[in-house]
Amino acid sequence: MFVRTFRICGLVTLASVAGAYAIAYVWVRGTPGQRLAAEYCILVPFWISVLTRAFGWVALLSNQGLINTWLRATGMLSEPLPMVRNEFGVIVGMTHFLIPFAVFPIASAMRALDERVLLAARGLGAGRTRIFWSVFVPMTMPGVIGAALIVFVFALGFFITPAILGGGRSVMVAELVYLRIFQSPDWGLGAAISITLVVIVGALSAALFRYLRPSQMAG
């Protein structure tokens, strides 16, 4: 149970941070038009309820959903591809939920980056790709690590999206607490899992604060 939760949270963290980095890059460094488009893509999902977003994924991915309907209509598939009520659905839904949260720390790290460093790199003869990978990415790493920790902590305690998109099959730890308290009254186990979660989350948050403090002082 804990292993599965950690595996899902790890995958979700990787996917969210990678996606957030791509869109934050355009949000911070794009042309004004690109920035506005990126801002909408980040903020609209951010402000919309987690239920609406999970429901959107159900509408897309379920057996009668848009993707399966389309795949069968075009004759690419005869049987619907199972994409919800399994880990895939949970990971997609959680990644979607968490990308905006990952964008904010990454974007603020990118904004804080001194423009002159990039100019210096160019002056020293680095190409675009080289500047991005050897200067830009390493210098925004603190934001990425901060984002990864935040996403991981959020993902651990999360149970709405897994409950809707997992359909009870790929149960995450937090969802198990809910089931233990309400469906099979086993308060002891529910409480024990909660305490474990608090300890893990507490340790990760402490790591986050320890990590952020020195970098703030340096900045």
Partner: protein, 268 residues
């Protein structure tokens, strides 16, 4: 400035992410117009029947009204509490200020399930002793939402307090203002925008709150997210798509208004 625009590869990656982010929101739109009773793509004609359901079925209207009431009351309480706390920290700078702030921010870090269980036990206990705000009552939901939203309001108010010039307060004190006058006539007017933002954020958080609400309500106090949740769990009701489209439209409108407003201010 901005010597480096994203190249084509970066733009392509961002586009993929953008599509990923918007897709589920767009997918809801056609589903909400389906004439069928089941969740499906509209085949044949379009229909507004699921929007009618929202008006005709009292459950939807009741839950919207309940969510509005809970949202207004709980965000007002949360903002007042957060304001009192932040003013205390800012004006008197107590010795354990950092520890106090950390303590108040705890509910933000604790996983929602854990807050939910704690509040569930608290509220069932309150109903047991005949409290006003018990399990499955709207004051109970308000109480729980206040607990969940106060940390966010505190953060916003503390941030706007940190931008207030302390010398204004010193001047007021030098001119003989009492503590109450300093707070209400000097500091609060300076942070009114922060207070308003804190209220709005608390309202939105309460309006969308589901994790904790799920634990502390059953049949009487059904907020809008709770009703959506029930519709999602049983058999998926396309009325959810209709309400989702309305919520998405409200969000986009508010965001656009904010962006336009910011532009207008930036140009002044």
């Amino acid at each position: 400035m901005n010597g480096y625009r994203p190249g084509p590869v970066a733009l392509l990656c961002a586009l993929v992410v953008a599509v990923f982010l918007l897709m589920p929101l767009l997918a809801v739109v056609p589903v909400s117009f389906t004439p069928s009773r089941m969740l499906s793509m509209p085949t044949g004609g379009l229909s507004l029947r699921h929007y009618r359901t929202l008006i005709d079925d009292p459950r939807w209207l009741d839950s919207i009204l309940l969510s509005l009431r809970v949202g207004v009351v709980s965000s007002t309480l949360a903002t007042l509490l957060a304001l009192a706390f932040s003013l205390g920290i800012w004006m008197f700078r107590p010795r354990f200020a950092a520890a106090l702030v950390g303590f108040v921010l705890l509910p933000m870090i604790v996983p929602p399930v854990v807050s939910a269980i704690t509040l569930y036990f608290l509220l069932t206990w309150l109903s047991g002793v005949g409290g006003f705000a018990g399990y499955d009552t709207w004051p109970g939901v308000v109480l729980a939402h206040v607990v969940v939203t106060v940390p966010f309001a505190v953060v916003l108010i503390l941030v706007s307090l940190s931008q207030v010039d302390r010398r204004i307060d010193l001047a007021a004190r030098g001119l003989g203002a009492s503590t109450w006058e300093r707070a209400t006539k000097v500091i609060v007017p300076n942070i009114k925008f922060g207070i308003l933002t804190a209220w709005l954020l608390s309202f939105v958080l309460s309006w969308e709150e589901i994790g904790v609400t799920l634990f502390i309500t059953s049949v009487n106090a059904i907020t809008l997210p709770r009703l959506i949740w029930m519709g999602l769990r049983d058999n998926i009701d396309p009325a959810i798509a209709a309400i989702s489209v309305i919520l998405i439209l409200i969000t986009v409108t508010v965001l656009t208004a904010r962006i336009v407003h910011r532009r207008a201010r930036g140009r002044e």
